[in-house]
């Protein structure tokens, strides 16, 4: 039977199409859920402070459109105005024009707001609430109505950017701004310079670099010894190594802190590097790989008089490139994202030695009401792993799988 071409006879083309469509709908829905927080982060990190607090939330960063109008030195902000029943985009030329609130003497609740200079006294009077008040000619929707003044207010003067003489007066706070999609990279500049992100990015990079190089080196040496050299106590030691992989890190946090006090490494980047250079996991991973390298090549090299170090360097390392990349990826993520240990060991006041996660923690308190700033910081910490993930996706996923294939 040609099994790979086998189809269930009851399954029609149509139902297969439907199943696939359903599969894609579910997959896409989850993909959206997985990506949305990140998209939200990038979008918000480019917003202005006001825009962050807009409700309903708008996904893309927006800012008010401005326009350069002849006769005005600065660009003017744009608002929507009502003119002759139409909605038009006008420029705000003057923020506060003194205005009066006017109403017909027989219907005092039907008020209109018009600039003081446009309402002209017509010499007549009307009795309102037992008092005699002057009547004024007030232009309302192109008509002149005779009204009394009942209050004072301020209006904005909006002009048509194409024809500055065309004016509309209305309340600025109640006017809807004209928005356009934009982006504010200033948030990133600010967190990098003012909020210490630049320095902590350097620190994190340095720490990660040292941890990855150190851990790969010790793991390769140890893994080779476990995989290829016979010595008494080897297998027992390996079992001990395996057993410790299960022990959670929090077990070590108190004694390791004491150890750092003893070494005088508290508050120093050294405390973030050296304890993480020696791991059972990395040794295990390299050992599992080295054990698959055929013995014959090594034996031939030994007979030729090569030293163990030469064999490791010339034969095992080149072959182990994928395993090395996997280990490096795993270690990179661990070192880059770690938070608990830096929180414990680096003093809050010692900004110079803060790593990214610590700076984010500080930022959370200092800019607690500025989502745009906080999320710009988060983006800086998340972007490097993300870029690496896009470049070397395979190794990330393999490092995940390798942690699972122990059975």
């Amino acid at each position: 039977m040609n099994s790979s071409r086998f189809h269930s006879p009851t399954k029609t083309q149509w139902s297969r199409w439907l199943t696939n469509a359903l599969a894609y709908i579910i997959l896409s829905a989850f993909a959206l859920v997985m990506l949305f927080p990140f998209l939200y982060m990038f979008a918000t990190s480019l917003k202005t402070p006001d825009d962050t607090y807009n409700y309903p939330p708008r996904f893309f960063p927006r800012e008010q459109s401005t326009v350069q109008v002849e006769g005005y030195p600065d660009p003017l902000p744009m608002y929507y105005v009502e003119k002759d029943g139409q909605r038009l985009a006008f420029a705000l030329a003057q923020q506060t024009v003194p205005a009066g609130v006017y109403a017909p003497p027989d219907a005092l609740d039907q008020t209109v707001a018009v600039p003081l200079e446009l309402a002209v006294p017509n010499g007549q009077t009307a009795v309102v609430d037992g008092q005699e008040q002057p009547l004024l000619d007030v232009p309302v929707d192109g008509q002149i109505v005779s009204m009394v003044q009942v209050g004072k207010t301020a209006l904005g003067r909006f002009i048509n950017p194409d024809n500055p003489s065309e004016e509309v007066f209305q309340n600025v706070r109640k006017s809807e701004p004209v928005n356009r999609i934009t982006w504010n990279p200033e948030n990133y500049v600010r967190v990098m310079t003012l909020e210490n992100m630049g320095r902590s990015l350097t620190n994190t990079t340095l720490v990660t670099l040292f941890v990855v190089i150190g851990q790969v080196t010790t793991s390769v040496l140890g893994g080779y010894a476990f995989a290829r050299l016979r010595f008494p106590g080897r297998d027992k030691l390996f079992v001990v190594y395996l057993g410790t992989m299960m022990i959670p890190f929090v077990m070590l946090i108190i004694p390791l802190y004491q150890l750092m006090v003893l070494f005088g490494w508290v508050d120093s980047l050294a405390a973030l590097i050296f304890p993480w250079v020696f791991t059972a996991y990395g040794t295990f991973l390299m050992r599992q790989f080295f054990i698959t390298v055929p013995k014959e090549i090594e034996e031939a090299a030994l007979i030729d008089g090569a030293s163990r170090l030469q064999i490791l360097w010339r034969i095992f390392l080149p072959a182990a490139a994928p395993a090395l990349a996997t280990l490096a990826t795993f270690t990179f993520l661990y070192a880059w994202n770690s938070f608990f240990w830096p929180l414990v060991i680096i003093n809050t006041g010692n900004y110079d030695n803060h790593v990214l996660t610590l700076t984010l923690n500080m930022l959370r308190g200092r800019a607690s009401d500025q989502g745009n700033i906080i999320l710009a910081g988060a983006a800086i910490s998340i972007l490097p792993p993300m870029i690496l993930f896009i470049l070397g996706q395979r190794f990330f996923i393999e490092s995940a799988m390798s942690s699972g294939v122990k059975g």
Binding site: S3, M34, Y55, N203, L206, P232, F249, I254, I397
Partner: protein, 560 residues
């Protein structure tokens, strides 16, 4: 090799062995003297008592090993060489590290971080050099071009790296180091490093090995431990020793400043002491049935019509344990079940599967701190997207179906009812993709033939999933559930970032690790915190054991 040279070389070897013997006698005597002087209090070590004892014991071991090495070397026995190599190698490592420590090389990383960014552009030059060198591979046709490009690339990278070293302050650093040698301790460490190093070299030589009857198995053993030594030593210092030490700390009332008294199991007793008392009537004050200065109220319950009150010496621990278990019970299925579904869909080999797999994986590569910050804003009660989506859904239902749903306007992180749920949702979201990849790996390991046979037998897709995929996937499922559980038991960062102050509101998000952190590093009760860590470890161990037994019972015969 001429005979004359041969004789001279043999004489050199013999002389080296003799000097090593002499050195070991001197080292043994010096070690013994040091131990005696320390014990007599002549040399005052500014160290805590337990450490002085450890140092003394290590010195004694060194003395004994050194004396034995001298004796066996004198006898020209093979074991003498091994002992000598091991003691000298360890002495070399210890004095080298001490030298580094005195010179301030370890803490010098901070100074490097100061200047590192100045040299970054030069590192870009190294990368450029690599690119030039790599581009040489494209010119396989003309060997000359290939070699030329590789050479140029190498020199560009090297030159850039030298520029980088200068920019980050290599000269200043070296000058600083040179000045440090004026310290007597640094000079002594340097001297010891050189002596130990020389002695290692003297006996490691091929000729010395031959003179002392080395065998192949013997050499392999030495090489094995040599290769393992960086890892093993680091592992002992930074893992095995702290682990044992942690247990010792848990038996003391250690604060963060080094004051400690041995108090036996009192920390553990404090954690576990509970007090159950019947109440005369519901609503009776707690202080009427137990000592309020020792116990605080944990919960009241009604058992067969009788009111009871449960008090605990450390009620917060029990609250944190309850919260942690709640978190685990909710997070594990919430991240594993959708992952299983997604993995099954992805496994059907539809086009674009790799893209989806990659997308699902993204949350697990980002820092939990960053993710927690994002979600904190998504959860924002007034402007957050989550409440906005709920409002949209409510409006939609009310408008389309005429329902009269009320917009809940949940204050996610500031209400005790929902705060833990909020953390659970976020954590499940974060681990789901990782679990999907694990499940997918497990599914791809199941042979296709089994399914095809079942399809012939007329099994529907649901029956196939239920009766074949799940049992065959049992090892992966076990692994996913175990790792997710172990991770979830240690939940800390999410809570620490998202709730303010951490654990709020009303201790509803106080987890064990957070409680450990507060005890160890805010109240400086490190002994107590260490005890909590061991309790947590025991809980994790028991849960894992339980799952392991469960898996053994239900697990299929298919072994990965």
């Amino acid at each position: 090799m001429t005979p004359a040279l041969d004789v001279r070389s043999t004489r050199l070897t013999q002389r080296l062995i003799q000097s090593a013997t002499l050195w070991h006698i001197v080292a043994a005597l010096a070690g013994l003297a040091a131990v005696v002087l320390i014990a007599a209090g002549v040399i005052v070590l500014n160290l805590p008592a337990w450490l002085r004892i450890t140092a003394g014991v290590l010195l004694l071991v060194f003395t004994g090993a050194s004396a034995a090495a001298a004796w066996f070397l004198h006898q020209r026995k093979r074991v003498g060489r091994s002992l000598s190599l091991v003691t000298n190698y360890l002495g070399f490592i210890v004095s080298l590290l001490a030298l580094f420590q005195f010179l301030g090389i370890f803490t010098g990383v901070d100074a490097l971080a100061d200047t590192f960014s100045r040299g970054l552009w030069a590192l870009a030059g190294v990368f450029l050099g690599y690119l030039i060198s790599a581009s040489g591979d494209r010119f396989h046709a003309s060997i000359d071009t290939e070699i030329l490009l590789k050479k140029i690339g190498k020199y560009v990278a090297l030159a850039s790296f030298i520029v980088f070293l200068f920019l980050v302050g290599l000269v200043d650093g070296l000058l600083y180091l040179a000045r440090q040698f004026a310290q007597p301790t640094a000079a002594a460490a340097l001297f010891l490093t050189l002596v130990f190093g020389f002695m290692v070299w003297a006996l490691w030589r091929e000729d010395s090995g031959i003179a002392l009857n080395r065998s192949n198995a013997h050499t392999e053993t030495l090489e094995g431990y040599l290769f393992l030594s960086p890892n093993l030593l680091g592992f002992l210092v930074f893992f095995a020793f702290p682990l044992l030490f942690s247990f010792f700390v848990s038996l003391t009332d250690w604060d963060a400043f080094g004051n400690q008294n041995f108090i036996g199991l009192r920390n553990y007793a404090n954690i576990f002491t509970l007090n159950l008392q019947p109440l005369d009537y519901a609503g009776q004050l707690m202080t009427e049935v137990m000592d309020g200065s020792i116990f605080s109220e944990l919960l009241r319950f009604n058992f067969f019509g009788k009111e009871f009150l449960l008090g605990a010496k450390d009620a917060l621990f029990w609250i944190s344990l309850r919260n942690t278990l709640l978190f685990v019970i909710l997070t594990v299925p919430l991240s594993a079940v959708p992952a299983l579904l997604l993995a099954n869909i992805l496994n059907s080999k539809i086009p674009g599967m790799k893209v989806f797999r990659a997308i699902y994986f993204v949350p697990s590569i980002a820092a939990t701190v960053g993710i927690a910050l994002i979600w904190q804003w998504l959860y924002n009660a007034s402007i957050g997207y989550i409440n906005y989506f709920i409002t949209l859904a409510v409006t939609f239902f009310n408008g389309t179906f005429g329902a009269a749903l009320v917009d809940p306007q949940i204050r996610w992180l500031s209400e005790a009812r929902t705060s833990m749920l909020a953390i659970v949702i976020m954590s499940a979201w974060q681990t789901m993709g990782f679990n999907t990849v694990l499940f997918l790996a497990g599914l791809q390991n199941i042979p296709k033939e089994i399914y095809e046979a079942a399809t012939v037998d007329g099994a529907g897709s649901w029956a196939r999933f239920w009766h074949m995929t799940l049992p065959l996937l049992a090892p992966t499922t076990f692994f996913v559930i175990t790792t997710t559980t172990i991770q979830a038991m240690q939940v800390f960062e999410q809570v620490f970032i998202m709730t303010n102050p951490p654990g709020a509101p009303a201790n509803s998000t106080l987890t064990i690790v957070l409680y450990l952190y507060q005890n160890g590093f805010q109240r400086f009760r490190q002994g107590y915190a260490a005890a909590i860590a061991w309790v947590l470890f025991t809980v994790i161990f028991l849960v894992t054991l339980l799952q392991f037994r469960n898996q053994r019972r239900t697990g299929g015969g298919y072994d990965m």
